[in-house]
């Protein structure tokens, strides 16, 4: 008998069917991955298993856990099961932990309130558990508040709290999406090592993670299972087109065409740039040049200073020292003091497309706004024509003109943001993690769009990312930032398939190496150790 046996799970909200006849089987100790893009119903399925769906959801089918029917079970039964037999790790540990309680207290509560340990015994078990999840100096750290820990450490605490009751099943819903690449790998390793005999249901949009950590996988598309089976055989011979598309869209460091280097005129150059925030030196003596038609990628973990660098270039934060030269002119002072021509030529695309669009404005007004500022004499008909043409260029239908940002998907909103940035015909586009929040296939489309625009207009792109695999497919040069400094990744002559690390800075070297390793998406065959 399976540990978890979900058959024909269907979830409806009114007329909207979000999950349609999904089957999930998990044996004891097995690891199963559910893959799908956002909106494919993977999180809804997980919430249904936990009995945590909204009240208005209409759920049918069968959810049997260890022979016990969970669908329609009493709240008390569900509580019992959730507390002792199914552990959960959510995407964002910052939201899942109570900010006002020390983590040790929160974990002890889990044990005490469910009668799994006495008050006297609980703290010791908590410290043991925190020690197992690799929290350094657990005895001291358990007195810390969540905000005093880094994202990775918080996620370790979440895993500890999910596993402390020694459940039979662990459900992890995008456990690493909110984390850095390097930390991501550590957390996944931890999940793999620590769970012993606990079965794992891993929900993710990242095929690389499933390939590396799950024995079985289930591919969801629009609420339906389109493919399911052992991970190795699905990767080797995907049955469904959608699976094939997902595999093809997964960015890989070792595959795909690398853009060839360009030798145009220098457009933007930064020299000896230093940015300080009070005591903290975020950017430490950085130089950077970007040529016409060239994409320069800046890679690094969060906190490495890459965002500070571009914000200084744009005049959003002051440079402590150094020079930014654009088209022969030195740019100085805050953005408000710069000429309109410079502000037209340097454009920025943000990571979070929804946040970067005014929620009260329609798409047509958002895209047309730069025209109103830079070409106020343009007639409304001409403005509309250019707006529609721009939307067409970024691959959006004219019907979206009337929409508000919240009515767009993440990919659509990012295209609108790119459209707004491109409508003035800038010469340098700065993308600050512009595709990090997007799904695999959408990300590929946006990257392709940027490549096309670059080919046609000779746009220079500064592409900031923490994901080396994404960077590889778009950039001519890669720079790795570490602790505010650069270590350059150059391309070795004659071997276009390898990115070579060319640096003398030891620490940066190590980061670059680890980034390369982590960014490399494993083949199912090579990476699946157990299978």
């Amino acid at each position: 008998m399976s540990l978890l046996d979900v058959t024909g799970l269907t979830i409806r909200y009114g007329d909207d069917t979000v999950v349609d006849g999904v089957d999930i089987f998990i044996e004891r100790g097995e690891s199963v991955g559910i893959v799908g893009e956002s909106g494919s119903g993977k999180s809804q399925s997980a919430l249904a298993i936990l009995g945590l769906l909204e009240r208005r959801a209409d759920v049918s089918g069968s959810i049997e856990f260890d022979g016990q029917q969970l669908l329609g079970a009493a709240e008390a039964t569900l509580n019992q099961v959730r507390a002792q037999r199914i552990g959960v790790v959510f995407q964002d540990p910052a939201q899942a932990l109570n900010p006002y309680l020390r983590i040790g207290v929160q974990l002890a509560q889990v044990l005490v309130s469910h009668g799994l340990a006495g008050r006297a015994e609980a703290p010791r078990r908590v410290i043991d558990m925190l020690d197992r999840v690799g929290l350094p100096d657990a005895a001291r750290q358990c007195r810390a508040y969540p905000h005093q820990l880094s994202g990775g450490m918080r996620q370790r605490v979440m895993i500890a709290s999910a596993l402390i009751a020694e459940p039979d099943l662990l459900i992890a819903d995008e456990p690493t999406t909110a984390l850095d690449v390097t930390v991501q790998a550590q957390i996944l390793e931890l999940l793999e090592d620590i769970r012993d005999n606990t079965a794992l249901l891993l929900i993710t949009h990242d095929l690389g993670i499933v390939a590396g950590y799950c024995e079985h996988m289930i591919v969801l598309e629009q609420g339906r299972v389109v493919d399911a089976g052992p991970t190795t055989s699905l990767f080797a011979s995907p049955r469904h087109d959608h699976t094939r598309a997902l595999i093809a869209a997964a960015p890989r460091v070792d595959r795909g065409e690398i853009p060839t280097a360009v030798a145009g005129k220098t457009r933007l150059s930064v020299s000896d740039a230093v940015v300080d925030y009070g005591e903290l030196r975020a950017v430490d003596d950085i130089g950077l040049t970007v040529r016409e038609g060239e994409t320069v990628a800046v890679v690094g973990e969060s906190g490495s200073g890459k965002s500070s660098l571009v914000r200084a270039v744009l005049g959003l934060v002051p440079l402590t020292r150094g020079r930014v030269v654009y088209a022969g002119d030195t740019l100085s002072g805050p953005v408000e003091r710069r000429s309109l021509a410079v502000r037209r030529d340097l454009q920025l695309v943000y990571q979070d497309p929804i946040g970067a669009l005014d929620p009260q404005m329609r798409v047509r007004d958002i895209v047309a706004e730069p025209l109103l500022i830079h070409a106020p004499r343009l007639g409304s008909a001409e403005r509309r024509r250019r707006t529609v043409a721009m939307l067409d260029l970024v691959g959006l239908r004219e019907a979206l003109l009337q929409r508000f940002p919240h009515e767009l998907s993440g990919g659509q909103a990012q295209r609108v943001a790119i459209g707004r940035a491109l409508i003035l015909g800038p010469s340098v586009l700065i993308c600050d993690e512009a595709v990090a929040a997007l799904d695999g296939t959408v990300r590929e489309q946006v990257l392709a769009l940027l490549r096309n625009v670059q080919r046609e207009t000779g746009l220079s792109i500064v592409f900031i990312s923490h994901d080396l695999a994404v960077v590889r497919s778009i950039s001519h040069r890669v720079l790795v930032m570490y602790m505010g400094r650069f270590a350059e990744l150059a391309r070795k002559a004659g071997k276009p398939r390898r990115l070579m690390i060319d640096t003398t800075h030891l620490k940066a070297h190590r980061t670059a190496a680890s980034l390369l390793k982590k960014g490399l998406f494993p083949d199912a065959s090579g990476a699946r150790r157990a299978a």
Binding site: R343, D352, G355, Q360, M361, I373, H406
Partner: protein, 270 residues
């Protein structure tokens, strides 16, 4: 659905306002004439005392209509003042920030620090006792809260990426405030105004009670309710009618505010 809320509450308010305008003009009675044969008579059609009479034999229908006028005018003036001065002041202080913000907000603090009643008495001494002083007093106080709330909201809006994106593109301060900040303030401003209106109405009746506001034989709904409380044991209508009307007006303003907030907020637009 939301439009229905707006239409309904607006309809009620306009109906009440029209009644208040036309009522005294149609009625054969006037607001100050006393009739000692009919002290505290209950509502009836004889003599067209539709809402009865008070303890001086004055017609309550005409007096209530007069009270509604005062109440509505107070409500509208208070909300206009806090809307125009408060929002502009708060948005500028919040967006420009720095020293400008510090100076502007210390001025608000100073005005806050003045005891309200002392302020009103000061006004009375400086000028003649005048009905208009109520508006000046209420207006002077009401926009302070609004300015603070709008400033706080603006401070957080200013840091949002869409505002930064507009700055990068070259949008000027005025454009950012008008196109990006103000529309995103509508929700909170409308909600706050619906709180301001009842507050202003209550302050007016409080001032009238102290003898600093509307003077007899002029009246307001607040003053009528106050008088009615004294008679409620033997002439309940003197309390119930103005109190009900006051409640209807306040509720309508609240519903109107709810409806308007949803109407202006793009996220809830149908």
């Amino acid at each position: 659905m939301r439009n229905r809320t707006i239409r309904f509450s607006l309809g009620v308010l306009l109906g009440v306002a029209a009644l208040a305008l036309v009522g005294p003009w149609v009625s054969p009675n006037d607001y100050s004439g006393t009739n000692f044969d009919r002290l505290l008579s209950s509502p009836s059609f004889s003599g067209w005392h539709l809402f009865g009479t008070d303890d001086l034999g004055r017609d309550l229908f005409v007096r209530t209509m007069l009270g509604i006028r005062v109440t509505l005018v107070v409500a509208i003036v208070a909300s206009l003042v806090s809307l125009v001065i408060g929002v502009a002041y708060g948005a500028i202080a919040g967006y420009v920030g720095g020293r400008v913000d510090a100076v502007m907000m210390r001025m608000v603090d100073t005005l806050y620090a003045l005891p309200f009643i002392f302020f009103v008495i000061l006004l009375m001494v400086a000028f003649e006792r005048n009905f208009l002083l109520i508006f000046v007093a209420i207006g002077a106080v009401n926009w302070l809260d609004m300015a603070r709330i709008v400033r706080g909201q603006t401070l957080s809006l200013r840091e949002r990426e869409f505002v930064e994106a507009a700055r990068l593109t070259g949008a000027g301060t005025l454009r950012i405030i008008m196109r990006h900040i103000a529309p995103n303030l509508v929700g909170i401003v409308v909600v706050y105004i619906t709180l301001t209106i009842p507050q202003a109405i209550l302050v007016e009746s409080f001032l009238s009670f102290l003898g600093l506001g509307v003077q007899e034989p002029q009246t307001s709904l607040g003053a009528l309710v106050d008088a009615g409380v004294n008679q409620m044991e033997h002439a309940s209508w003197t309390l119930l009618i103005p109190a009900t009307l006051l409640a209807v007006i306040l509720l309508s303003f609240n519903f109107l505010g709810d409806g308007l907030r949803d109407y202006f907020d793009a996220r809830h637009a149908p």
